[in-house]
Each structure stands twice: as C-alpha cells, then as structure tokens.
C-alpha cells in the first residue's frame, strides 16, 4: 500500500513539476524512499521507463506515416501527380495506365516496411519483457524489464546482463567488488572490477538492502561510457553522509556480471536514457550512391520532360495562331471547349503533354530496381562459400537496398576483437637465453612432465637449466591473474592437476592468462594466491610458495610490470616483464642478442611478444625499495608521477631471462582478406576499444601494417610531451614530404619499396582533434589536418574508442570532401553505432551476441567472407545495377522521343504514337524481363578472376559506370535511335505509297496504312532495337538469358498478333484490329524493320569495338585475355596480375 501511495505522490509531483524543470543533474531515491524531512529539497523529475524502442511505426500511425514517407520520394510523388492529372483533365491516355502501377508499388512497399517494423516490435518486446529481479519490501520480486523504474533496487545474478544503468550497492563478495565483462559494449572481453559504495557494501541481503535510506545525485545521462560523476547521500540517523560516485561504481546496461554470485544495485538511468541506448543511433534509411545518381538522372529527365511539354505547348499556340489551323472546319470544338479561357487551355495542354511524355520516367524502373535488389540479395544468402560450417550460419541480408554499394567501398572500418581476431589468446613459444621452447598440445588433459616442451636448439647446460627454471617461475609469479574457484580448496589442486575445468584463470589481460596457461603446459602451474603467498606446482609436482611483497602494476607508459617476491629460501627476487622496448634498455646482462633476434622474428610473425627479466635484491636494497614505494604511495600530490619515478628507480640493472610469444589468433584468412581489400584500393581502418599495444600487434599480424610501414603515433603519450597542435603539424609535414615525391604507381599495395604510413590514434586524442576550433587562432582546424594525414596513410588504427567515437570517425570520413563510401564491420554491440553510421554496415556473427547482426545491413559468419562479398558480389551488383539504370533511361528515351517528334506532325494535338496497350506494356512486359534477368545474373568476368585479382575492383570505383559522360552517351544513343526509328518510318510513309500489296489477303489490292500502322512499325523497331542492344551488352548467356530475350521478343509478336487478331468485346475502340498483321504482310515493312534495327545498333557496336581496341579498361583486357587463354586456366592469374600492374 505504502508503495502505491508513494507512486501516486511521485506521479502527482511529476505532473505538477512538469518538463520545464529540466536540470543538469538528477536525484534518485533508492528504493523510492523519500529523504527525511529537513534535508535539502530536491526537484523530483520524470524518468522514462525501461522500455527500449527501435520500431518506427505504431499500429495507428502506420498508414499516414508510411504514406507520407513513401510520397516524400520524388519519384512516387511525381507518379501521384501524373495520376491525379490524368483523373482531372482530358488526357491522351487513361488514368489506369499510371494509377495501377503506382498503387501496386505503394502497396508492395508498405507491406514490406510494415513487416519489417513488425519484426522490430517483436524484438523490442522480447527485450522489454524479459524478467528482472527487483527488491521490494525486503523481498526479491520478478518484474518485466520494461517496468523497471529509476530508483528500483535490482538483484542481478552471475552471468546475467544488467537491465539498465545501475549504481552498485553491494555484492556477494566481502570486499564489495564485482567483476563485469563489457564485451558487448566496448569489445573488451577482459573482466573489469567494479566497486560497491563503501557505506552500503555490507548490506548484502534483501532485507538489509531494503533498509538502505539514501539518495543519489548524479549528472543527466550522457553517452560517454567511461565518464560518470555523482554523489550518494546516505541518511544514517537522519544525518546525511555524502560519498562520491564515479564510473567505478556504475554498471552499464548490456554488460554482464561475471565471477560474482550476485549483486544489489540501484537503477539510475533507464530505457532510452541508458548509456548503451545513447550510444545507439537512430536507424535512418541508407541510400546507395547508385540511388543518388538515379535521383540525379531523374531530375535531369524531369527537366527534359517539362521542357518537352513546355516547348510543345508553346509551339502549339504559335502554330495555332492561324485560326484555320486552330480549328479547321473538319475538327470543330464543342461549345464548352470554345468558351474555356486560353490560359486554362494552354495549361491543360501542358499537362496533357506531360501525361503523354510521362513514360520517360517509368514507374517500372523503381519496381525493377527494387526487385533486382530484393531478388539479387538472395545470391548472397545462397552463396555456399559464405556458409560457415562451424557456426552453421550463412550470410544474412537485412537491407537489400545497398547491394551495389558493396562494389563501391573505399574505406573499411573494422572492429578488432572478434572481427579480425578470434578473441582467443594462445601461448606459442618462449625463448630462454636463445633456446626456443614450444609447448606440445595437451593430450587428454595430461601433461607429461619434462616432455611437455620441445627444444629446438641444442640442450642447455646446467647453468642454462637454472635460468630456464627461473624464467618459468618468473612467468608464474609476475602477473595479476586470479584463479576462479568453483569447488572447495581441496578440489582445486586436484582439478588443475587432472586438467579438468573446475578452475580457471581470470585476468584483465588475456595475454597474462595465455602465459600462465602456457606455463602450465610447460610444467609449472600457478595454483593460487593465499595469504599473500603465491603457490606454484613445479615439474616435480611439488608446491613452491613465494611470498608476494610488492606488485608494480602495469601501465601503458612504462609498458611493463614487476613483482617482488621472497622465495621459501628467503631469496628476494624482482621479476619484470614488459614490451621489448621497455626491457632491453634496463638490462645489464643476459643473452640480449639472441633474445632480441628471436623477439624481432616473432614480431614479424605477428605474435605479441613480451620480455622477462629479473633482479636479485639484497635485503638492504629491498628496504630501500619499500621506502621508495611507501613514500610515493602516501604522497597526496602528484602521486602517479612519484610512483612512476619510484618504479623507474626500482626496475633497473635487470638480467634478461628470455621472451615469450603469444598469439591472438587471427580469424582464418583475415590477413589475406585485408591484403585483398588493400589491393582493391580500399583503405582499412581498425577501430577498437582495446589498448594500443594489443591492437597494434593484431594490425601487424593481419598485415594491416607491414614491416616497413612507418608508424605515426597520435596518442595521449605524445600529446602530453608536445601540444596537439605541434604533433599534428609534425605528422602532416612528415607525410606530405613523402607524398610530394610519391609517384603514381606506389599507390598500389604491391610495391613495397616506398614507405607507406600507418597511423595510430587513441580515443582521447581523437576527441581533442574533433573538438570544434576554439577562439584562439592558433588551434586552427585540426580536423582538416587530421584528415589530410589520414588520407596519406594506407592504414589507420584507432584504439581506446568509445562506441560513439567509432561512429564519429566514420562520420568524419564520410563528410570529407571526396565523400567516400564507407563500410563498417563489427561483431559487438559497441560496433552498432558505426555500423549504423557507415554507408554499409556489416555484422559478424560472433560470440558477443546478435546486436551487431541485428543492426547491420549485411551479416556474415566470418571476416574472411567480406572478400567475396565485396570483390565478387559487390562488383557484380554494381555492374548489374548501373547497366539497369542506364538501360532503363535509354529505352525510355527511345520509347518517348518518337512520340515527341510525332507532335510536330500532328498539329501538337497530343496524339499518342502508340496504342494504349503498347504504352502500358512496353515497360511492364515487352522489355522488362530481359533487363531484370540481366541485372540478376550478368557476369562480365568470371568470379574466380574477380577474387584472384582484387585490383579489378578499382575499375568500378567512384561510381564510374554512372558518371555523367556515360549517362549522356546513353541518352544520346537513345535520342539517336529514336530519330532513326521515327524518321525512318516517316520517310517511308511521307508522301509515298508505303502500302501493302496485300498478297496474303484474299483480294489483291493495294491498301492504305493509317496512323496506327505507323506507330506499330515504330514500336516494333523499338522493341527489337532495345532488346538487341541489351543482347549486345550481355556477356554471360545462360539458357535463361536466351529464353528471356528471345522469349520476350516472341511474346511481343504473339501479343501483337493476338491484340490485333480479335475484336475485343470489352474495348470501345478497335483501332488495332489487324494492324499488325497487315503490316507484316507488306514486304517494305519487313525490309524497313531490318534496316532501322541495324541502323540503330550500328554506332553502339562500332563504339564498343573501337573503345575496346584503343582505350580498354582493365576489365576488358582481362575479358579478352581470358578468351585467348580459355584453354590454359593456370596462366590466367599470372596474366591478370601483369595487366593490373599495367593499368596503374
């Protein structure tokens, strides 16, 4: 009851307060308990519920909203106008001819979009209805997720995902910590530690938690995942105690609880206000570059249409100035027509001309394009090579609108973890004093002592043996790995010993886990940390105990960590492990040369290397160390700096032991894929939330960076030393100097002589770069300089990226002056924002949930499938759709231009040249199927060649087949064909006896041909010409092509025979009766059809042959070559490579 009252009160206060009281911070009453009277009065705000909404429509607004959106498309709106004009005024053609197709298109699109939105509703519901546990009145109650409200205390168990953003109150662990993986948020799969509020961490049962009386003040939600500022006021005996809250107390929606039995936490941001939701971007409809060109062409054609109608209207009235032409005695007007005002008449005439010529922009083009995209996308789903047997998944197409965009990609933004890599570290080898040890694969969980390693070099002497053992111990001790216990203490030892997975290692660094596990395979097993003693099971199955004295934690500036331990014999050791660059300068003895050689060798292989060294400490030295460290730790000011200084003093005079190599297993063929993408002219950027070192190693392994890539760093470390301004100018100078001397052919990824640049930038620096320019003139526009640097780098690595920053980067590149086409690929929820932002978003079906897949345009099982998707499918789709678009405009110019010309010979009376049936069916059935089929199965080059020779992808880059010159060529060709057809027929009819001598008829007469025969003749030539034109363009004749091309011509003939062969009872005119047959019975008609078709096709054939000979594209060279060498398939590859070199 009390709850209800408080809810009511909150409600009332909400409505009384209203929205105007929007403030920068919010106050949350934990468990909805009001603060005791007398405390500072807080403004109670209205918070959204915990509902996630990704759907676009509701049941009620679907029809109006969808109609509105559909008619916002220029084309649809245009067709609607034409339809309405036909309804209102007396026009040459019936409104059905445009109304029916329009209705069809609108309905089909509405159904499709409605269905998609229904799926989104379903997905939202399943998320919003999943159960969560909430503490109410000292009891845990189940609730639907969407009913969760700010202030609710939530109970979360291990491996559950947090339902909203929470402040951690208490955990099952005594220390008040919990472990969380934020893999689906930022891609980091390591476990992170979060802390409960100090004053509440003891309250770890339902009743206790319910008794907490506190309020939280915190900032309003903002998308940065790593920032949070707040304050908790705890009322103990009505005396508020304030404690600061930071991001270490904030559990984010989407993260998962690990290694902690349960937690209690209070909801502070819910629903669309959670940081995860704020990092999502609204899903906007993506338009492909082809669609943009299509719209541009459409505007041109609209302009042509309007000018045609306008010219005709003006000419009509000029011509009609002579009253006898205006109204000759044989063609009187009705009385009402005479009374109409001239302006109205002119306007109706203009509209009638518009209607007559409106077919130049055919509804069917949009239908065909939609169908092509929809049906074509099945080839991606059907592709067996993109099926992954391991996952049992095939490629998924979520948006077929972007198929052709796959052939236009210039920038690829890829996530690292789970996309490039398997997200799975593996210990590969270690090297002690130059001797290499490779662990055997564990067989049946049994490690044979002593036999667990393979020594590549000669067996070491006794001194080396000692070093070797020290090395293994160092690795077993120098880390921050925790052992996750599932069983009792007794069980662990057994468990580990038997190789059962009853316990396993957990660490914030997967490398450390891999190292410790690798050591296990080499015979030294780290058991646990107990009472600040580390226990190791050595090769002889004896437990060795080392007292852990100090841990000098890892940081990315030092790039190393150390531990100080005391062995059971009382010896004091300092073990240090770190990046080679940070260890070697501090080494005073050891086989530096051999180890260095091995490290370099491994780095080239793309392995992540670490060096290990030690130092023996005398008790006096240890005292000194302790003194240094405690001094630094107690410092109140500059603590970090003093600690760093202390570490610097301690970690010196080291003796080198050896090095390790760990592999973050790349996905299968990831490097090959990246190389292909490079060769295809794409720039690949890796965007990751991971830290720089890890990410850089992956980049080397995946061949993103080569050995001779010069790395430019734009990181916090550098900007601390120098101002951002200087760093940027430095880098741009470096890059541009090189660029000035760069010749054209270095553009190809093949030539390695020239330095190519790789840029590494981190999130913090990026946000500094992106910050809008400040007042002081010095700062200038960093964005431009940054872009300039990026343009000259073959590869860029962005690390420590927040999800929204990934999207920002994509946006930045998208908006740069070349407007390149971008593709983003990722597998986690942290990639969603960039997947949505990029022109094409690709999701990988990884381990981290389906969020990326759901929000992507395309989803593939593995990164390697990107190669075929872009180089083969993308290329084909682009070729196909560009021909489709160009051909459609061409064939409609051919179709309508004669009608325009005919107006000059019929007194501008809007007399259609063709019969209504021909007007309606031309685009729908006579010429639609061949181009649709072409746009589905055309293959100008064999797909194996496309895959082998990625450089072919450059042939179609930058929308090259839809550039204006090509479009103009097609249009001119269309106009030429139209002129040939119209005037060909004209000269045959004009003032001559183009007649039939009627041999086939029963009487031997010479009969007149009328206007419908004239139109039919033009139309017949038209259908044959445009179909043959397509046949000339077809490179891949399957039986289906033959069937459709010849079939549609036969269909035209059969239809015409039938249409003219019967008196159709439902028609009130019979103008086409026997027209087609009469025409065919005339010899000259046949001769002129043949002549006009030939004349129409001649220039195009000529152009093709001459262009192919004089200015062949790479594609054409390869087509020719393939033809010549069809019998020797093995040489194709070699030749195609040479040709690609020629073309650059």
């Amino acid at each position: 009851m009390g709850m209800d009252v408080s809810t009511l009160r909150t409600l009332i206060s909400r409505y009384c307060v209203g929205e105007e009281n929007w403030v920068d911070s919010r106050t949350i009453y934990i468990g909805h308990k009001e603060p005791p009277p007398g405390t500072e009065a807080f403004i109670q705000q209205r918070f959204p519920d915990n509902r996630i909404v990704s759907s676009k429509y509701t049941f009620w607004n679907f029809i109006p909203k969808n109609m509105f959106e559909q008619f916002r498309r220029v084309a649809n709106f245009y067709f609607l106008i034409i339809f309405l004009v036909q309804l209102i005024i007396d026009t040459p053609t019936s409104p059905i001819t445009s109304g029916l197709p329009l209705f069809f298109v609108i309905t089909v699109t509405a159904i499709k979009q409605g269905y998609e939105d229904w799926l989104r509703h379903k997905a939202d519901n399943s998320v919003n209805q999943c159960p969560v546990h909430v503490v109410q009145h000292g009891k845990v109650v189940r609730k639907q997720s969407r009913k969760l409200r700010v202030g609710d205390v939530v109970f979360v168990k291990e491996n559950e995902t947090f339902p909203c953003d929470l402040i951690l109150l208490s955990t099952s662990r005594d220390e008040g910590v919990c472990y969380v993986t934020t893999a689906s948020l930022d891609g980091e799969s390591s476990h992170k530690t979060y802390f409960a509020v100090q004053d509440t961490k003891a309250y770890n049962t339902e009743q206790e938690v319910d008794s907490i009386h506190a309020t939280i003040e915190c900032e309003q939600p903002q998308p940065d995942l790593y920032k949070f500022v707040g304050r908790i006021n705890i009322y103990m005996d009505n005396e508020p105690v304030a404690r600061p809250l930071g991001s270490e107390n904030l559990l984010l929606r989407g993260a998962t609880l690990k290694n902690t039995e349960y937690i209690y936490a209070v909801a502070i941001y819910t629903g669309m206000e959670t940081k995860m939701a704020l990092n999502y971007q609204s899903k906007t409809q993506k338009r492909s570059a082809v669609e943009k060109s299509m719209n541009a062409y459409l505007v041109v054609y609209l302009f042509i249409l309007i000018s045609k109608a306008f010219v005709n209207t003006v000419l009509k009235y000029v011509w009609q100035a002579d009253p006898n032409r205006d109204e000759p005695w044989y063609n009187d007007r009705t009385e009402s027509e005479r009374q109409r005002h001239i302006v109205i008449r002119a306007f109706t005439d203009f509209l009638a001309f518009m209607v007559l010529f409106n077919y130049i922009i055919p509804v069917s083009m949009y239908v065909t394009v939609e169908m092509q995209k929809f049906l074509g996308s099945y080839f991606i789903m059907w592709d067996d090579e993109m099926f992954d047997e391991e996952l049992g998944e095939r490629a998924v197409v979520n948006t077929s609108d972007l198929n052709e965009e796959l052939g236009q990609v210039e920038y690829v933004f890829t996530d690292k973890t789970g996309t490039l890599t398997e997200n799975n570290m593996e210990f590969i080898e270690c090297c002690v004093d130059g001797h290499v040890y490779v662990p055997h694969v564990i067989l049946n969980g049994q490690v044979m002592p002593g036999a667990g390693m393979d020594m590549i070099d000669t067996s070491p002497g006794p001194e080396a043996r000692e070093h070797e053992e020290l090395f293994f111990r160092a690795l077993c001790l120098c880390h921050t790995v925790q052992v996750k216990e599932e069983e009792t203490v007794d069980g662990i030892k057994q468990g580990i010993h038997q190789g059962k997975s009853t316990s396993f290692y957990i660490s914030s660094s997967p490398d450390e886990v891999a190292l410790v596990e690798g050591m296990k395979r080499l015979g030294f097993t780290y058991l646990r940390l107990k009472d600040s003693h580390m226990e190791i099971l050595n090769r002889e199955d004896e437990i060795e105990r080392f007292e852990l004295l100090e841990v000098l934690t890892f940081d990315s500036v030092r790039r190393r960590m150390s531990v100080i331990v005391r062995s059971s014999s009382g010896q004091l050791y300092l073990f240090c492990k770190g990046a080679d660059s940070s260890i070697f300068p501090r080494v005073i003895s050891g086989k530096v040369e051999q180890v260095k050689a091995r490290v370099e060798h491994n780095a080239v292989e793309g392995l992540r290397t670490l060096c290990v060294a030690y130092r023996l400490l005398s008790p006096e030295q240890y005292q000194e160390v302790c003194h240094l460290l405690s001094g630094a730790k107690l410092a109140l000011q500059d603590r970090d700096k003093r600690l760093a200084e202390a570490y610097d003093i301690i970690e010196k005079d080291l003796i080198l032991l050896g090095a390790t190599a760990v592999e973050d297993r790349l996905q299968e063929k990831a490097a090959d894929t990246i190389e292909s993408l490079h060769k295809a002219g794409m720039k690949v950027w890796v965007l990751t939330g991971d830290k720089m070192e890890t990410a850089a190693a992956t980049c080397y392994a995946s061949k993103l960076f080569h050995r001779n890539t010069q790395i430019l760093e734009l990181t916090t470390k550098r900007t601390e030393e120098q101002s951002l301004h200087d760093v940027l100018f430095d880098l741009s100078r470096t890059v541009l100097r090189q660029h000035g001397g760069m010749t054209r052919d270095t553009f190809s990824g093949l030539s390695g002589d020239c330095t190519d640049y790789g840029l590494i930038i981190d999130g913090a620096t990026l946000s500094a770069v992106m910050r809008p320019p400040q007042e002081d003139s010095n700062s200038g526009n960093y964005k431009e300089i940054f872009l300039e640097i990026c343009r000259n780098c073959s590869a860029v690595l962005c690390c420590r990226m927040a999800p929204l920053q990934k999207a920002q980067i994509v946006k930045l590149i998208k908006a740069s002056k070349e407007h390149p086409i971008t593709l983003a690929i990722g597998d986690g929820a942290n990639d969603v924002s960039m997947i949505l932002e990029a022109h094409v978003g690709v999701g990988i079906m990884g381990k981290e949930g389906r969020q990326a897949v759901r929000n992507s345009d395309y989803a593939i099982p593995k990164f390697k499938h990107l190669k075929k998707m872009l180089l083969v499918h993308g290329h084909y789709y682009y070729i196909r759709i560009s021909e489709l678009v160009q051909y459609f405009f061409y064939k409609n110019v051919c179709f309508i231009f004669p009608q325009f010309l005919y107006q000059f010979f019929c007194g501008f009376s809007q007399q259609p040249l063709y019969d209504t049936a021909y007007l309606t069916l031309y685009n729908i059935s006579f010429t639609s199927l061949p181009i649709l089929l072409y746009s589905l199965i055309e293959q100008h080059i064999n797909m194996d060649i496309l895959k082998k020779d990625p450089s072919l992808y450059r042939d179609i880059a930058k929308n090259s087949l839809l550039r204006w010159p090509i479009f103009i060529y097609w249009t001119i060709l269309g106009v030429y064909d139209a002129i040939v057809m119209f005037f060909g027929a004209y000269f045959l009819f004009d003032n001559t006896t183009f007649t039939s001598n009627g041999q086939l008829m029963t009487t031997n007469t010479q009969m007149m041909f009328g206007n419908w025969t004239f139109g039919t003749l033009v139309f017949t030539v038209l259908v044959f010409t445009v179909t043959f034109k397509l046949a000339l363009d077809t490179h891949y004749w399957t039986w289906i092509n033959h069937f459709v091309i010849w079939g549609s011509l036969i269909f035209f003939v059969v239809f015409s025979l039938l249409w003219g062969g019967i008196i159709w009872p439902f028609l009130n005119y019979q103008r086409m009766y026997y027209v087609f047959m009469q025409m065919l019975s005339s010899g000259p008609a046949w001769l002129s059809i043949i002549l006009l078709i030939t004349a129409g096709l001649l220039p195009d054939v000529l152009k093709k042959v001459i262009w192919r000979a004089l200015w062949p594209t790479t594609t054409e060279r390869i087509q020719t070559k393939r033809r010549c060498l069809a019998s020797e398939p093995s040489t194709i590859f070699m030749l195609s490579q040479t040709s690609s070199r020629i073309s650059f």
Partner: protein, 339 residues
C-alpha cells in the same frame, strides 16, 4: 546430431543457379568477329539497296494538283466555297504506256487526320452496327454527336463527318471523243474492315435502321445511299467510307480511290491524252490545303519509294567503310591483347 541437421537445413543449396555458376556462352565483340560481320552485312545491304532502287525507279507515278489556287488552273472557279455542285475538267497526257494495274489515288496535304480529338471522334460500337448507339452516339463524337434538333447523327464524329466527297471520272480522249476509263471500286479497303470490323445493322432495308437519325452535317447523301449502283456498298461498309475512316498518319497523305484493272485498260493506260472530270465538293482552301490525284503502279515492294533503297545503300556502304576503318585501327594498334 540435432545440430548437424540444423546445419544441413541452414546450408544453402549447392546448385549451379544459386552459386551463379550456370554454364554460359560468353561472347565478346572482338574485331575478329565484328569486321567480317560488318562486311557481310554491308554487302548484303548494298545488294538489297540496289534491287530496291532499281525497282523503285521502274515505277511510274503521275501526280496532278487540282486545287485551283491560281486563276489559270481549270478548277479555280470551283475553289470558291460559295459555288455548289461545281464540276471541272483536268486535261493531261501520257507519253508512254502506264503499266497496269494502275492505282488511282486522291491526295490531301496540310490535312491533319491525326489530330487527337479528330481521331477519337468516332463510335466504334455504332460502326459495328449496334443499334443502341444509333440512338445515343458516344460522347467522343461531340460536337458531331447530335444535330441542333438533338437528333443523333449516324455515323457520328468528326472523321465520318469530314468524309472526302470529290468524285472523279477519267476519260481517254481518242480522236476528240471521250472514252470512259472504267474504275474498279471494290477491295480498295482492308478486307477485315469490310468484312469484320465495320458492320451494318442487320435491318432490311438498311434505310429503316437510320430512322430517327440524321446524316452527318457535311454529307449530301445519307449513309445508306452512298453508292446507288451497288446496294452492298452502302452504309458503314462503303469502300470509300472505309478508306476515309482509316486515318492517315501524317498531314500529307493520299488515299486509294479506284483501281484501273478492267476492260481495255487492264494492261495499263496507253499513251495519249486524258481528261479527268472532277466533281469539286471538298473545301481545302480555308486551311491552305491542296488536293491532288495520283496515278501509280506498284512493284513487288509496294509503291514508289526511293528512300528505302537509298537508305539500304547508305547503311550498307557505312558498314563497309566502318569495317575498313576498324581494319586500319586494327593494323595500326595491333589490338595488343590479341597478339
């Protein structure tokens, strides 16, 4: 086991079609095919062109304008619209035998039978003999739908109303006396128009079907009295009516009037003087039109038409020239990839 089945279910069909590996013929427009192709097409076209050109030249055409614009012309006085039932005579001579069968056309210029409104102004239901449409002709016929007394016009519409009504008689002048050249007026329209498309109502006598209707305003005789000599040539299936109803495509057109196939003239018109007697009724001066008669014979390829032959010759020679150009390009640039 279940998982395996799932995998199989999700695995795409491995067929040639779904994997885009259908067997295909992959032709290419290479010079090796195109050049010989052009030569062959070019030669064939030149051949056809020559044949057409020669044939077309053998066709005789005689064209006589009788509008009477100048006052020297015999029909000048008839061209005045106020004159009624005017008859004028045109004299001409033929130098050599005009081979038969000779076709006799009338021609009109600057006459737009292809106006949209004009073309739509007819009622095909009425013309197929449906009596319902005799009483209420279709609205498309307006303003030739009802007369001023609101009586339906049959046949309605602008086309029917404006039917050409000049009549011709051709005489050969043999030693001063006129000998009538017999005209054959049968089968000058499309067979399908005469037999199927146009139908008179099945009422006998035909006149009764036209009760309560009026003839088109321009007509002097009702439809059922168009040809007093032949009852089967009346109503909607009158041959002259059918010829007129088939609208010409272009503003300058000619229509078949009669054929000369009978009697002494079956072989053609012998050389000599002829006189054409014209009943001049049809006004064309108001819209600056011209009227003419044309005498012509035909060949296997129809009437005289030089365009087709010339076009064939031009395209054929272009093909040959282009193949030579391509050959030169071929020789000069060696088509490197085909070496």
């Amino acid at each position: 086991m279940v998982k395996e089945e799932q995998e199989l279910a999700n695995r795409p069909d491995n067929t040639a079609f779904t994997q885009q590996r259908l067997p295909a013929w992959q032709p290419m427009l290479s010079a090796g095919i195109v050049i010989p192709g052009f030569v062959i097409i070019g030669l064939a076209f030149i051949g056809i062109g020559v044949a057409l050109f020669v044939t077309s030249h053998s066709i005789q055409v005689l064209e006589l304008d009788y509008t009477g614009v100048e006052n020297t012309e015999p029909c000048y006085r008839c061209s005045d619209p106020s004159s009624k039932n005017c008859v004028c005579t045109l004299e001409f001579s033929i130098d050599s035998l005009f081979e038969g069968p000779v076709f006799f056309y009338y021609g009109l210029t600057n006459y737009f039978q292809n106006y949209r409104k004009y073309g739509a102004s007819r009622d095909d239901n009425q013309l197929s003999g449906d009596l319902d449409y005799f009483k209420s002709p279709g609205n498309d016929c307006a303003p030739y739908q009802y007369n001023s007394n609101n009586k339906p016009i049959v046949p309605c519409g602008a086309i029917a109303n404006s039917m050409f009504n000049d009549t011709f008689k051709l005489y050969q002048i043999i030693r001063g006396s006129k000998k009538l050249v017999p005209f054959d007026g049968k089968g000058i329209a499309w067979w399908t128009d005469y037999n199927i498309k146009y139908r008179n109502p099945s009422v006998t006598p035909l006149k009764n079907a036209f009760n309560d209707t009026v003839k088109p305003l321009f007509w002097s005789k009702p439809a059922y009295e168009l040809d007093p000599t032949d009852p089967a040539n009346n109503g909607f299936i009158n041959q002259d009516f059918l010829v007129w109803m088939r609208r010409a495509a272009l503003p300058d057109f000619r229509k078949l009037y009669r054929r000369i196939t009978e009697g002494d003239y079956a072989k053609g018109l012998p050389a000599g003087n002829y006189s054409l007697e014209i009943a001049y009724n049809y006004p064309v001066m108001s819209f600056d039109g011209r009227k003419k008669v044309v005498l012509s014979n035909v060949s296997w390829m129809g009437g005289k038409n030089e365009f087709l032959g010339i076009a064939y010759l031009v395209i054929g020679s272009l093909c040959v020239v282009m193949s030579i150009v391509m050959l030169i390009v071929y020789a000069k640039f060696k088509f490197p990839e085909e070496d």
